[in-house]
Symmetry: C2
Subunit: 214 residues, 2 copies
């Protein structure tokens, strides 16, 4: 948190606009793994950031507004991760789709604070226009991948790309949430979350009528 070097303790005038905002986001991201995305107050985020209880109101209306800002930043990073996975030189659409699913699992595992703010805080996607745009951009990557995938089917046999995208998203999200963390609700997992996802995507694509490798 670079702002600390600029004058922690100097009072209101000491904080640069962008730095305080980032400091509050970092504070919330540190609190979320312990108490969940709804389990901290605005005052606790201020304390964690080392600022006065009133300071957060300079940037955010309330805690949910802070969470919406975190979710927006999360969707932006998420879109970067999905784009990188998609561009990663996949030889075919099916491998590319699995690559996106695995980027989803990796994001959930490495960015639990963002993931919780994006998907577990009950923040509406239209809470702010910026959040809506960021969420739409991330989803567009998945939807494009679904469109590329079903392009391999004869025209009359193509399911709606939106439905395919929602299915792949739901399967990835379910596996990430249930089996991607430290604790899982099954005694002995027969395979890794990544392999479970890949197997599921392949069965699903078979069901659409796509060959195993295109």
């Amino acid at each position: 948190m670079s702002w600390r070097h600029h004058g922690h303790g100097r009072g209101r005038a000491g904080y640069h606009h962008g730095n305080l905002r980032e400091a509050l986001i970092e504070a919330a991201l540190a609190l979320i793994p312990e108490s969940g995305p709804l389990g901290f107050t605005f005052a606790e985020a201020a304390r964690q950031a080392g600022v006065s209880p009133a300071a957060p109101y300079r940037h955010f209306r309330d805690r949910d507004h802070l969470l919406a800002d975190i979710a927006q930043q999360g969707f932006e990073r998420f879109a970067e991760a999905l784009t990188a996975a998609w561009n990663d030189g996949a030889p075919d659409a099916l491998t590319a789709l699995c690559g996106i699913g695995k980027a989803y699992l990796a994001f959930a595992r490495t960015q639990p604070g963002y993931y919780a703010a994006m998907f577990e805080a009950g923040i509406a996607l239209d809470a702010t226009p910026e959040l809506r745009d960021a969420g739409d951009r991330a989803f567009a990557i998945l939807r494009n991948a679904a469109e590329r995938t079903i392009a391999g089917l004869p025209e009359g046999k193509r399911p709606p790309a939106l439905m395919v995208a929602l299915h792949i998203w739901s399967l990835s999200h379910g596996i990430a949430s249930l089996f991607g963390g430290r604790t899982t609700p099954v005694r002995a997992m027969p395979m890794s979350p990544e392999d479970l996802l890949e197997a599921g995507v392949l069965v699903y694509l078979q069901g659409l009528g796509l060959p195993k490798q295109g």
Copy 2:
């Protein structure tokens, strides 16, 4: 909360063992929708239940122990709901599997407090032997449904029932978590969560080589 009638305010001796435990569970279930499964302290649960801050320690080691007890009760109710869906006179295995998935969605929607304690609190399934047993019993229903489903395939072409059960579970969980609540991360959902799940299960079963209706 029937214990209230027996002597709210009478002090330690006034509470029957089972009633205090139930009162604390009810208090936590009331707190979870607002603050998440990790967002309340043991003392807040006591206050919500109208008992002294020390009272919870008569039944629970700490808040996570209380959450494990709630998750156990949740898995017991969940197993009842899944069993009812399974026995609901389904004409074939595919319809039965969708019935179980829809019972999953209904449980997530109507029992958000239990659902969060079971799946979003990071409580390990082996936190208590009772929790492990309850979780295992609920999963056994899903696994049996998966076994009945793949029994329709020739012997050499049957996938592992455990894997099928985990896929259906993950898809149901993903749809429930992403699209089953008040807020969803997609601008315009093309269909209800129930229809999205049914379509996904049917494509998946097609991919296994099962006919659309068996």
